[in-house]
């Protein structure tokens, strides 16, 4: 166990890479909330977030020997990158599964959603959009669109940060964000 001495992330990574399971557990306990928070931006259900936590830490374990941290924020940024990639993979899987079920909203859902969006668009502070309806609508976006828009508009990352996280070029992030926004507008204009 490592709670008393509080070693840095880099020390724990080195120990975990050398086979120290307690060091890996210490890393897990220290950062699982960060991973859950990122996963929570993409997935609403607890089970899905738990799945991402497991997936991200499994990927982290097998990539430990590739980590070469140099400053305090390195490990956090690296873990965020792994988590975002795990979320992206999961979004693609979910999208593949739900591709056949991309039906239109029911008449009642459309009415509810339209009124919610009108209020939301005019008064952001009091906006309250149903999560189920929002999730249903967002299945129409590709995994890439959803990823880039969430990172830009919900998490508030810069284009450069997203490029680093996704290993895409800056121009690809910009183009993808532009297309994703256009796509989301197209989806929403039916209801606003």
């Amino acid at each position: 166990m490592y709670p008393a001495t509080e070693p840095t992330d880099d020390v724990l990574v080195a120990a975990a890479a050398a086979g120290d399971e307690a060091a890996f557990e210490a890393l897990f306990n220290r950062h699982r909330r960060q991973v859950a928070r990122i996963a929570g931006r993409f997935f609403a259900q607890r089970e899905q977030i738990e799945e991402i936590i497991q997936d991200a830490f499994t990927k982290l374990y097998f990539a430990l020997h590739t980590y070469h941290g140099t400053h305090e924020a390195s490990f956090k940024a690296w873990l965020a990158q792994i988590t975002v990639n795990a979320c992206y993979d999961q979004l693609r899987r979910v999208r593949r599964r739900s591709e056949q079920n991309l039906g239109e909203l029911t008449e009642t859902e459309t009415k509810d959603f339209s009124s919610q969006l009108r209020v939301a668009a005019s008064d952001v502070e009091t906006a309250l959009v149903s999560r189920d309806l929002a999730l249903k609508l967002l299945t129409r976006l590709s995994a890439e669109d959803r990823l880039v828009l969430t990172l830009l508009d919900v998490e508030g990352f810069s284009v450069a940060e997203i490029a680093e996280m996704t290993s895409w070029s800056i121009s690809k992030v910009k183009v993808r964000a532009h297309r994703a926004r256009a796509h989301l507008r197209k989806v929403l204009c039916k209801y606003v």
Binding site: E25, R46, I49, E50, I53, T58, V129, D153, V154, V192
Partner: protein, 147 residues
Amino acid sequence: MFKRNSQNDEHLDRAGKIVLRAAAADEQEIERAAAAPFLFTRVRARIAEQLRENESGGWQSLPLIAWRAIPAMALVASIAGGLMLWSGSSANAPSAAITTVGFGMYEDALTDTNDPGVEQTVLSRNNLSHEDVFDMVIERGVVENKK
């Protein structure tokens, strides 16, 4: 007109941000997921499973190898079948009644199901019968016994 379009886009972008935020989990759900029981045990189990899968990579790649090998094997089998049919039809030709197939062996000797091919070849090349051979074997046995 352009102003109206850009206003409309802004309006939709605002709505889009709200939809994206609405689709996210709330803090309680995030906290519950992060504090889920046995989460680290499940991570360890997944790592162990992946390690096992990596070790048994040979077994898992077998279906892929089979998938690639089946067409090649089918091709070889069809070529072999074709050659067999071709050689069968040429053996039935009248001119091939007694033909050698290499190493001085007669084709009849090789295709005769009653006698072993080599025996038949030796007998036919030396104008011997089975009785002659039998006598030779007996004589050799008697000589060796006298020694």
